[in-house]
């Protein structure tokens, strides 16, 4: 009797609330899936004007950038982006790898307690602050110290400065992934190697790094895609000259900088507008490509531990 009352009076509303919650939450979750599709199709639609008038080959492999006379060659921007990101990875990768081994294998907990906030703060510093730091510290350093060593004269606003700033920005990002990757390696594997008479260093070299290799590669891939899309900090120190860079002391003009510098001012020329949206699309495709590839590698790597 009593029980029935509880069931009759309370249960239906509770169940209705539950059902209601389920529905709207599902809708919001679906919204999440739609967003990237929406962005890609929007960008594709906007860049169709450019693609109608030019062949893809012409756009990507031509280096003639004269928007006013309808010439849109993206090669200088693509090459600048490649230079900057690859060089920054070249700087960041060894530092991250060595530090990750140090923090996971050798460091005691006091060092860890000190380094964790350091990494977190580095990861949290806004892009524009890195740009300011680049202008204050890196640009003069490159112009006055590094370039003279190679007998080069430069303003300091060049590929190398941008790469150094970018390297510092991706270090916390890559380092965090690497630490996670190395920590998923079971400790028993180290124990097995040690009990076969191997020293710690031998174990790290032949067992841990080997086991972590796919993870290390994908961490670098994710770092690459992160630095590829970085805008403001790079824009502030890279020099912004639309020509294919011929060396690390040359200025460059990466894709994100192109969008940031020109968007909003080119509305009068539809083709120009379309070209910039195409560069956003290009940027997104390249970034997604590296991202998906690296994440698949990580996922297949994690599966092997189950």
């Amino acid at each position: 009797m009593n029980w029935n009352r509880i069931r009759d009076n309370i249960s239906p509303t509770r169940l209705q609330i539950n059902k209601f919650n389920e529905v709207w939450m599902l809708v919001w979750t679906l919204f999440l899936v739609v967003v990237p599709l929406f962005i890609v199709s929007g960008l594709l639609w906007k860049s169709s004007l450019l693609l109608e008038n030019h062949t893809l080959k012409e756009i990507i492999f031509s280096s003639e950038w004269k928007p006013m006379s309808g010439k849109f060659g993206f090669l200088p921007f693509i090459m600048s982006s490649l230079w900057v990101t690859l060089l920054s990875l070249l700087i960041a990768a060894p530092i991250c790898l060595f530090s990750a081994i140090h923090l996971t294998q050798y460091a005691n907990r006091y060092v860890l307690r000190f380094m964790q906030p350091v990494i977190d703060i580095l990861a949290g510093i806004p892009s524009v602050i890195y740009g300011v730091w680049g202008i204050i510290a890196v640009v003069p350093f490159v112009a006055e110290k590094i370039a003279p060593m190679f007998g080069v004269q430069t303003t300091g606003y060049n590929i190398l400065s941008a790469s150094i700033v970018l390297a510092v920005m991706v270090i916390p990002f890559i380092l965090n992934i690497l630490i996670d990757i190395i920590n998923t390696i079971p400790k028993e594997l180290t124990e097995a190697s040690l009990s076969l008479g191997a020293g710690k260093w031998y174990t790290i070299k032949h067992v841990i790094l080997r086991k972590a290799l796919p993870g290390i590669i994908s961490a670098m891939g994710l770092g690459l895609s992160r630095s590829f899309g970085e805008t403001i900090a790079v824009l502030m120190v890279v020099g912004n000259v639309a020509a294919i860079p011929s060396g690390i002391f040359q200025p460059g003009y990466p894709l994100p900088a192109l969008i940031a510098n020109n968007y909003g001012e080119m509305m009068s020329i539809p083709q120009y507008d379309s070209a910039l949206m195409f560069s956003a699309l290009l940027l997104m495709i390249i970034v997604l490509f590296f991202n998906i590839g690296s994440r698949f590698l990580i996922m297949s790597y994690e599966k092997r531990f189950k």
Partner: protein
Amino acid sequence: MENQTKIKVESLNLSIGNKVILNDINISIPKNKITVILGPSGCGKSTLMKSMNRLTDLYPEMKVSGNIFIDDEDILHTKNDVTEIRKRMGLLSQRPYPLPMSIYKNVAYGLKISGRVNKQLLNKRVEHYLQQASLWNEVKDRLKDPASSLSIGQQQRLCLARGLAVDPDIILADEPTSALDPISSQEIEKKFLELKGNYTIILVTHILRQAARIADYVVFMYLGEVIEQGPAKEFFSNPQTEITKAYLRGSIN
């Protein structure tokens, strides 16, 4: 011969922070016999074994005191290289952890560290130890395959071969059959019985029947302490303490 002692543990204490894991352990393990360390899970069996080849060094939070003598050398306070001590003991863990390399290289791993790099000799040794672990016939055509492609039972035997290859005189086995199917487990047990003529084998287990099947000597542990130790026959037929009796009846687990 009957009473020759291989490993002698004297007043060994081990703690993590305030938590005592091992409390005043005193045991002696006879040479070329199978000694089973028996006890419910979480009683410190595995930790005791890890301190015997100083894998406890890996965990800086563990505080160890006391002595462990192996052939009269106090390995906790020795000046000799730790890797030399570890090489004298082969380790089999609960699950097989093959090294991330080929089957061949897994066995050759320890040999290469020892500096034996003569290719032909190496081939012969690898074959020899794979045969000792009765794995040779199953893998001789695919030595270059990654070790992870083997079945879990085969992997455990590979780990055995890998351990034997560094020419130890002690085998430490930490519940080596707990992840295996009954048939693979049987094979491992059979292997141990074959090997005990040349090796001092220490087997950690919580499976009573396994202990009864293969033990020559039993150490019974409970909550970080050694409750009872003695030859297997006496231990099973005439247990001395109440806790042991209760455990053998199956009321503690």
